[in-house]
Symmetry: C2
Subunit: 146 residues, 2 copies
């Protein structure tokens, strides 16, 4: 099943590639680092190298199968490209990430690019804030001002 997508990307169908793709499919909206993928596969009994995980993720990204994001700390996290574009809102306290799409913002971006003399390509919008989840260390603290 995933064979098709890998072949379409011009890549050989190998165990590491299949396993990484499978794992990403189970992740849904969860964003995982290369290191996490590596450890999860190891724990699953797979024999795989960290370098391979990085290589494959980069290839998948180039092929449009996978998206890479860099949140505040600057390190890479990955997720399956599930078709539609979306942006992210991240809790700076607990790290929780939610996704959103806003047509107004998307439209304004196209207008801004046009206005500034750019042919628009991609974009990255990340909102940082504090979530109100009971489990978040931030929970309860009324309104911290720093």
């Amino acid at each position: 099943m995933e064979d098709k997508e890998i072949r379409k990307a011009g890549l050989k169908v190998t165990a590491p590639r299949l396993k990484i793709l499978e794992l990403l499919e189970t992740c849904g909206e969860h964003h995982v680092s290369a290191e996490e993928i590596y450890r999860l596969l190891l724990a699953d009994g797979e024999e795989i190298g960290l370098a391979t995980v990085y290589r494959v993720l980069t290839q998948f990204e180039a092929a449009g199968l996978v998206e890479r994001h860099r949140f505040e700390d600057g390190y890479s996290v990955f997720e399956l490209n599930r078709g539609g574009h979306h942006d992210h809102i991240v809790c700076v306290t607990c790290g929780k990430v939610k996704e959103f799409v806003d047509d107004t913002i998307e439209q304004r971006q196209r207008e801004i690019a046009e206005d500034k003399g750019y042919e628009i390509g991609d974009h990255s919008l990340i909102i940082y804030g504090r979530c109100r989840d009971p489990g978040c260390p931030n929970h309860g603290k009324a309104d911290n001002k720093d």
Copy 2:
């Protein structure tokens, strides 16, 4: 003159801090890396260490004097905090950066944060595209689709 700002940040007024602040002032809307700052100061005859540049930039950032951004490649670039917030549009071909502010987008972000149950803090919006400058390698190429 810059003494005031440094002191206000609770930091001692030292040659490295003054020089870095001065240099950033000459940069205007240009975004510079720590390494660039380091080399520019060295070329200017200053005796300074790269570790100090990083340390000072981090302190300035914490004090709100300086802003740090990470464009596509993930490395840090810095600019003086010139008061108002702004976002960036970057040419993926030549690297040219322009700044913009859009009230509609800013407002929608606040609504999204509210909607998703986050107390909004900062955000990072970077549009990637291709500029139409005569000097840009992209110039002339009608509309490349990859």
